[in-house]
Symmetry: C2
């Protein structure tokens, strides 16, 4: 079913462990997201974590902007076994407290946490606790205002990578290698360049994503392009899709990105033609019905729904099962071979029956 | 405004002309789509073409499955100056008739139009009319059923490219170089490999897209990944996003892909943070309002809408203008420099005012 799996040669990286999830090495590329509520709202946060986990989120990050948030992590930790990451910006003491309260990873931003002694304190605490640190750089925060103008002209990616490389020497001095790196910008081109450049300089696993890329209308396109491009190059060990909206949607899009590249499987994937002047019947409605009916199937199969018989079985031969519409009926096929005719109104049920009788292979 | 323009080195290609639009060479990467109505419904088709053109579609393809459709092209030609492409599958005579009826390009599918004499007839007719031909291969149709199983295992991309290269010898024998090539599969990995392999073998411009990649829920992700990856490699001279749905949405997504890579500009692009526990205020609603208000602006600027002051001006320094929410107010900034405070309910208006007073540079 997953013939495409492992077709993309993957960058060799060290492996780190975040709670029960491994990042890097030969671990599956994991999906993460972030809670979007004040962290001290423990009950609401736990409910959001539950929704995220139910959708397939494997690592959950939480903002820790103040002591209230750091303290709340204790209760949140008791309420979930999801791997938790504390997101720290300005105050290193919050990182120490978050580690005491049981988080599985800390993210520090080299743009904000710069004092050597403070970074050392966080590194030593993480080492003692046996948890990794994400060095999470953002283009805007890592470059000071004056440099920004220059970087805009001369290459923000290189500037980001140089800064992060400098920062990593602090970790090397402490003999701490339990690191995940991210280098995000809201610009897709600069982001992918930064990761590509960094990939040549180290073997730390990468958390990949496009930061602040907007509402779903633009953010899905930007995240798919940036994360997709890197994954196609074998770069990326854990992914975060950032969208201004419900974090559950971030997980959904991340799953589609990974499955779209054959890297992981999360249930059926529907491939359907865009329709054209050759199309017989209302393909848009039929596809919607098929999507709904097959949502209970967990097998990662390709299901084709094509608008005409000429294109149908042939162009959809990559699919495990599929239909091609004809005048008043459809033909059902398995890997390009026609099996039988079905009535248009029975298409979704027929595909569900096929999907559920496929062998788990 | 478009500092990122031309940052990606582009594959050198010949240039062809489709009506008033150039494809390849240094021409802007053009956007195309396809009508999704029976071609003989001339009035409806012309209305759909008008909607597509209004959204920014630069080349319109129409299915020509039979003589009714071929004949209708005569009336459609009279009703629009949009560059028109006739999509031919089985019957080469329909290509000849379409050319007589004034189309600006013909697409032939090497999987269906195979007879040497028939292909020659189409080439000679196109040559006499001075129009290009797209050699538009689809994985499913180009590989015969028996080969499909093998190709699934051994590499569909290489099989597609070999087939198309064979086919192109027919064109070379006729000394016809006015060619655009596409090599589509519904599988993203195979599709990008096919284009990459073909890019090494010729300098014909490429029409890039992922075929039959499904409804918007999955198709936007797959198209963004496939088209985005190729464009990031400098491959692609004209793009088609295929979605099971309204073709106008295909054009919208194509615009976002091109603008997201800094290749073209189509009005403001909103970058907004995903929000987190640090966010002040209802960023989702504010972003929606900003999107609506700025929809009348044509300048291709980056507009940041960030949820907190800590991340705001710094992380959004790549933006031309932006706001960062604080408690009960927001700060307005230009390229990372704070300009003034605004009330939360005035954010969208303030950004509109800023956007419309920026110099056209």
């Amino acid at each position: 079913m997953n013939a495409r799996e492992n077709k993309i040669p993957r960058r060799k990286t060290r492996q780190v462990k975040v709670g029960k999830i491994f990042i890097g090495g030969d671990a599956p590329i994991s999906i993460q997201s972030m809670t979007k509520l004040p962290t001290e709202e423990v009950d609401l946060v736990l409910r959001q974590i539950e929704r995220l986990v139910a959708e397939g989120c494997e690592i959950v990050r939480l903002a820790v902007p103040d002591r209230k948030a750091a303290k709340a992590l204790q209760e949140i930790r008791k309420g979930t076994d999801a791997p938790l990451v504390a997101d720290i910006h300005l105050n290193y003491r919050l990182a120490l407290e978050a580690i005491d309260n049981g988080v599985d990873k800390v993210r520090v931003n080299p743009g904000y946490l710069r004092e050597k002694e403070q970074v050392q304190a966080v590194i030593r605490k993480a080492k003692a606790a046996g948890i990794p640190i994400r060095v999470g750089a953002n283009s805007g925060s890592i470059l000071r205002a004056g440099e920004m103008g220059r970087a805009r002209l001369s290459g923000m990616a290189q500037a980001m990578v140089d800064r992060v490389a400098d920062y990593l020497t602090l970790f090397e001095e402490e003999d701490f290698g339990d690191i995940v790196i991210s280098l995000k910008a809201s610009d897709v081109v600069e982001t992918v360049r930064a990761y590509e450049l960094m990939a040549e300089r180290c073997d730390y696993p990468f958390h990949v994503g496009i930061t602040a890329c907007g509402p779903p209308s633009t953010g899905i396109v930007a995240s798919s392009m940036g994360i997709g491009h890197l994954l196609l190059e074998g770069i990326g060990d854990t992914v975060r899709v950032s969208l201004t909206g419900d974090p559950v949607d971030e997980v959904r899009i991340a799953k589609r990105i990974l499955q779209g590249l054959g890297l992981r499987g999360f249930g059926p994937m529907i491939i359907s033609c865009p329709t054209c002047g050759r199309c017989h019947g209302d393909l848009v409605s039929i596809v919607q019905e098929v999507e709904e009916k097959l949502s209970t199937v967990s097998l990662p199969i390709k299901v084709a729904v094509m608008g005409c018989e000429v294109n149908g079985p042939g162009e959809a031969a990559e699919a495990d099962i599929g239909v091609a519409l004809g005048r008043g009926h459809a033909v059902l096929f398995r890997t390009g071979m026609v099996v039988r005719k079905v009535r248009l109104q029975e298409v979704a049920d027929a595909l569900l029956l096929e999907a559920t009788s496929l062998p788990e292979e």
